[in-house]
Every structure is written in C-alpha cells, then in structure tokens.
C-alpha cells in the first residue's frame, strides 16, 4: 500500500515582508505517514507546522524545486512547486480541520456538513444545494457521530467553538476523507471541548482507519493521543518517534524559550498565564492570516 502522506524535499520561502529578509518556513523537508497512523506535529510557533499541513492539501505550493513533491494516498498533489492537474478532486478525499473552524457562518450546520460533498457531487447539483436524501442522511449520521445532530438546523455562527470544530470534523466524515489534516484544531478551544475534539479525531482514526496528521501546540495532547510525534524547528524535522522517546531535554531543545507555553504544569497558578497569552495572540494571528490571503 502506498504511504497515506508522502512529502519529499519540500522547501518553502515566504516573500519578504517590508524591511525584512525572506523567511524560510520549510527546509528540504521529507516525511512519510503510513495509512492508519495518527501523527502529531509539534514545535514552537513559526516552526512550519501549519505551513507543512497546508502544503499537503495543496492550499499552498512549495518553492519551485524539481525534487519537491507531495502525494496523498499515492496520488500527487504538488510537484516541483506546482499543483498537479485535478488537485480539487484529490482534495475531496482529504479532510481539513482549521484552527478557526472556517465554517460558513450564515449556513446551517447541516449545510456546512453537506458542503463536504461539493467535491464529489455534480457541479450543478452542488451549486444549487440539491442534495439527495441519502446524502442528507449521511450528513446526519456524521453529525450524530460527533454528538451535535440535534443542532443540525442551527446557523453555524450560533455554535460554540467546540461545536463548530465538531461540525468541521463531520464535514470531513461526509467527504469520506481517507486522510484528515487538522491544523491546531484545539488551540481556540476550552480544555473540555479540546479533549472532546481530540477524542473524536482519535476515534475516527481507530474505528475507520483514517490517517490523521494533527498539529498541536501543547505537547501533553500530542503525547496522550498520538503514538507518533514529529517535531519541527525552523522548518526541519528535529524529532520523529514515540511519545516515550520525547524526553524533557529534547523538548527544551525543540521549544527553547517557548517551553513554558507548550508544557502544561501541575499547578494551576503557572498554567494560567500561558493560556491567557495564547488566547490574546489568536486575534492578531487571525487578522494577519486574513490580510495575507486577500
């Protein structure tokens, strides 16, 4: 069987911001993920975790370099810094879960979940939202699985963060995704919602054999839910192994000064400040992403 995710010699350099040097986000990075694995990607902010994930689904392309390529389920996504033809069709089998959920706020939860069929339904049926009863039932089953079928008719914008993220996961289920890429899926959630979301991802991985690649900022979630942890630093892999092999010394090496933010501590007194810092950073980051993408 081909690897679920195969990344070879991927480089990514972001265009220089005003008055700054061009920033190298990924540095000749290669990584293989076998089918059915659940792999955590950890590393300090700016280490390239999210960038790597976005390359896998072809939302971004790498630098123009002939050796670079990315494939999912044995089918190429990008080669030499260019998306391959038919990437949209491949994407329909790759679920993507975002930190900011990225649901369409004015659509119902069911509508958002059914959007997962857009890549597979015929164009006109999709655009006119003419979903079959079978598709609607599948969407309801997916919503029941993530535990929010009773709010299927509500507008997505009225949901809590945890519910929105679960709806986003239901969308990947309806896609029939063989691979789920989750980009900081719990960074914007409270601890209880975060635990539920990670449980659901782990359950889908366990029961359906769906390959999950998840970026996480907090190391304890990575070691608790994933049998394999890959650590990035400055766009390169610095650790690839089991949670047991991830020693405190290694973590200090990976995170440097950011270690306190990544590690939970037993005393709530020390836990509070990093959380607050994490939360206050998010709006700024969302804004930055917004302006860059436009």
């Amino acid at each position: 069987m081909p690897p679920a995710i195969q990344i070879a010699h991927l480089d990514k350099t972001f265009a220089p911001q005003r008055g700054k040097q061009p920033r190298k986000a990924l540095n000749d990075l290669s990584l293989n993920v076998a089918p059915g694995e659940m792999v955590a990607l950890i590393g300090p902010s700016g280490s390239g975790k999210s960038t790597l994930l976005r390359h896998v689904s072809g939302l971004v392309t790498g630098d123009r370099c002939q050796r670079a390529w990315v494939s999912v389920g044995g089918q190429p996504i990008q080669q030499g810094g260019r998306l391959v033809r038919g990437v949209r069709e491949r994407r329909s089998r790759i679920g993507f879960v975002f930190q900011q959920f990225n649901l369409v706020g004015r659509l119902s939860v069911l509508g958002n979940v059914l959007a997962g069929r857009l890549g597979q339904a015929s164009t006109w049926r999709g655009l006119l939202s003419l979903w079959t009863d079978q598709e609607k039932r599948a969407a309801m089953v997916a919503l029941a699985r993530v535990g929010i079928s009773e709010i299927a008719g509500q507008r997505a914008s009225t949901l809590s963060g945890g519910q929105q993220q679960r709806a986003a996961i239901a969308r990947t289920l309806v896609q029939g995704a063989q691979v789920i890429l989750a980009d900081e899926p719990i960074a914007s959630l409270d601890p209880e919602s975060a635990r539920r979301v990670m449980e659901i991802l782990a359950q889908i991985n366990r029961e359906d054999g769906v390959t999950v690649l998840v970026t996480l900022h907090q190391v304890d979630y990575a070691t608790r839910y994933c049998r394999r942890v890959v650590a990035l630093r400055e766009g390169a892999i610095v650790f690839d192994g089991t949670p047991e092999e991830l020693t405190p010394a290694l973590l200090r090496d990976i995170y440097g000064a950011e270690l306190d933010f990544a590690l939970p501590t037993s005393t709530p007194v020390r836990e509070a400040p990093p959380r607050a810092a994490e939360r206050s950073r998010q709006p700024a980051e969302a804004f930055r992403l917004g302006t860059v993408n436009v």
């Binding site: 790759i94 706020g105 890549g119 164009t123």
Partner: protein
C-alpha cells in the same frame, strides 16, 4: 516629586502642527476663492432679483391638481422604470462584481473589468438616456436602459468591495473539501456578502426612483416628461403639483427602503 509636577503641565502645541493646521485652512479658502471666478458667483444679483423671484413664486401657488390622474399614472411608470433598471443592473452586477474582485480573479481580469465599470458609472443617467433615445426612441424603455447601464457600473463596484472585505477563512474551508472555483464562490463568498448586496441593491433602487424622475426630461418616459412639458409651457401651478407627487413618492420609497435595509444588516 518634580516628575509628578511636570506631568500636570498640559502638552504644548508644537509648531509643526500649528503650521500644518494654518496651511490647511489657507488651502481650503484658496480653493473656494479659485472656484468663485469660474462659477461666476454673483450674490448681489440674486438679492436684486429676489423681487422678481417673489412674483415668479406666486405663480406656483396654489398647486393645480387638475390632471392628477395623469401625474399618478406617470409616477407609477417612473417607479416601474426604476424597478426594471435596478433589476437588470443587479443581475449583471453579480458576475461583473465577482470579476472585479482582486481576491477572486487575477489582475488581468479585474483591472479591465473595473475600468469598464468606471466608464459605465462616470457617465450620468441623463447622458445615457440621451444616447439611448437615438437607438430605441422616446419612452420609458430608454429610461430603463439608462438606469440599467449606470447602475450596473455602481453595483458592480459595491458588490466587489463586499467580496474583497469578506473573511477568507470559510472560502478556504470550502476549498479544502475539493469544491470547484464556482463552489467556493457560491458556498464560501455568497452567504457572507448577501446581506450587504441586498442592502446595496435597495439603496440603488431608492436612488433610481429619484433618477427616473429626471431622465424623463430628455424624453425617457415617466413623470419627468410631464414635468418638462409643464415647465416649458409656463404652467407653474401644475409644475408644483407634479413636484409634490415626486416628493411624496421619493420620500415614501426612501423611508421604506431604509427600513428594509435595516432588516438585512
């Protein structure tokens, strides 16, 4: 102690800001003075002629509603012109608005489309009406075409501005499902911009009712034709009556559309 005392001192106005302020005022008055000449401003003449004005004004009152059936009928036609002029513009402005959005299409598409839209709206409805009179002749349809062309230019710009301000997150969410480019627009962008679009379309409808009352003056149908005829034939009492019809209709639609727009935002 000294630091606390120093901080109580109100901040001094620095020289630079004062000079800039002075220069700004000088510039404003300079522009007004410059335009005085070209606009042939003669306030004294206005005062001297105010006696004539009063006699003239007397002719306007009381308003003569003798032909009220005609005014009502033409007023309805005016509203009908505005309805079709706006409706056609909305239909065409949707694709053109998408094609002038920098976050949807590459620059070599949106730049030319935007320039064409600029041209459509830089020409006034009256001028378009004059041009269309020569092709489709006198009548309300000319008015519809004039409003349609001008409003398309405006709505395409407003629609595209809404698209450019929309949140890229949901669009990327839809893209990640493998949707087509059209799917991204219909699912990711349209739900976000729809309330704004409806509000813009209503606002333009409101403006088009005002515009439709004047395109008639160049022969494009509606109350404007009546207005022009009664003014030209010095029937001032009837002019007042027609103007009252216009004022009441425009006010009614302005108020109604403002209420409706509030409901959508």
């Amino acid at each position: 102690m000294t630091a606390a005392q120093a901080s109580l001192e109100p901040p001094r106005r620095d020289l630079r800001t004062s000079v800039v302020k002075l220069l700004s005022w000088a510039a404003i008055f300079g522009v007004l003075a410059w335009a005085w000449e070209g606009a042939e401003m003669r306030p004294l003449e206005f005062l001297r002629g105010s006696g004539n004005m009063l006699t003239f004004a007397k002719d306007f009152f009381p308003p003569d509603f003798h032909d009220w059936r005609l005014y009502l009928q033409e007023m309805v036609i005016t509203v009908q012109i505005a309805i079709w002029g706006t409706a056609l513009a909305v239909v065409l402005a949707i694709p053109l608005g998408i094609l002038s959005s920098s976050n949807v299409v590459p620059w070599w598409v949106y730049q030319p489309v935007r320039r064409v839209m600029d041209a459509l709206r830089s020409i006034n409805e009256m001028v378009w009406a004059l041009l269309f009179v020569t092709t489709v002749g006198l009548g309300p349809f000319t008015g519809v075409l004039a409003l349609f062309v001008h409003t398309t230019g405006i709505l395409a710009k407003l629609f595209s501005e809404a698209i450019e301000a929309c949140d890229p997150g949901p669009v990327e969410g839809i893209r990640s499902t493998g949707a087509s480019a059209l799917g991204e627009i219909v699912y990711g962008i349209l739900p976000q911009v729809l309330p704004l679009w409806i509000s813009f379309a209503l606002y333009r409808f409101e403006s088009n009712i005002r515009a439709a009352t004047v395109v008639g003056i160049v022969g494009a149908g509606g109350i404007g034709v009546v207005l022009w005829e009664v003014i030209r034939s010095f029937h001032y009492a009837q002019t007042t009556a027609a103007m009252i019809f216009i004022i009441l209709t425009v006010t009614a639609f302005d108020v109604a559309s403002a209420q409706l727009r509030k409901a959508f935002i």
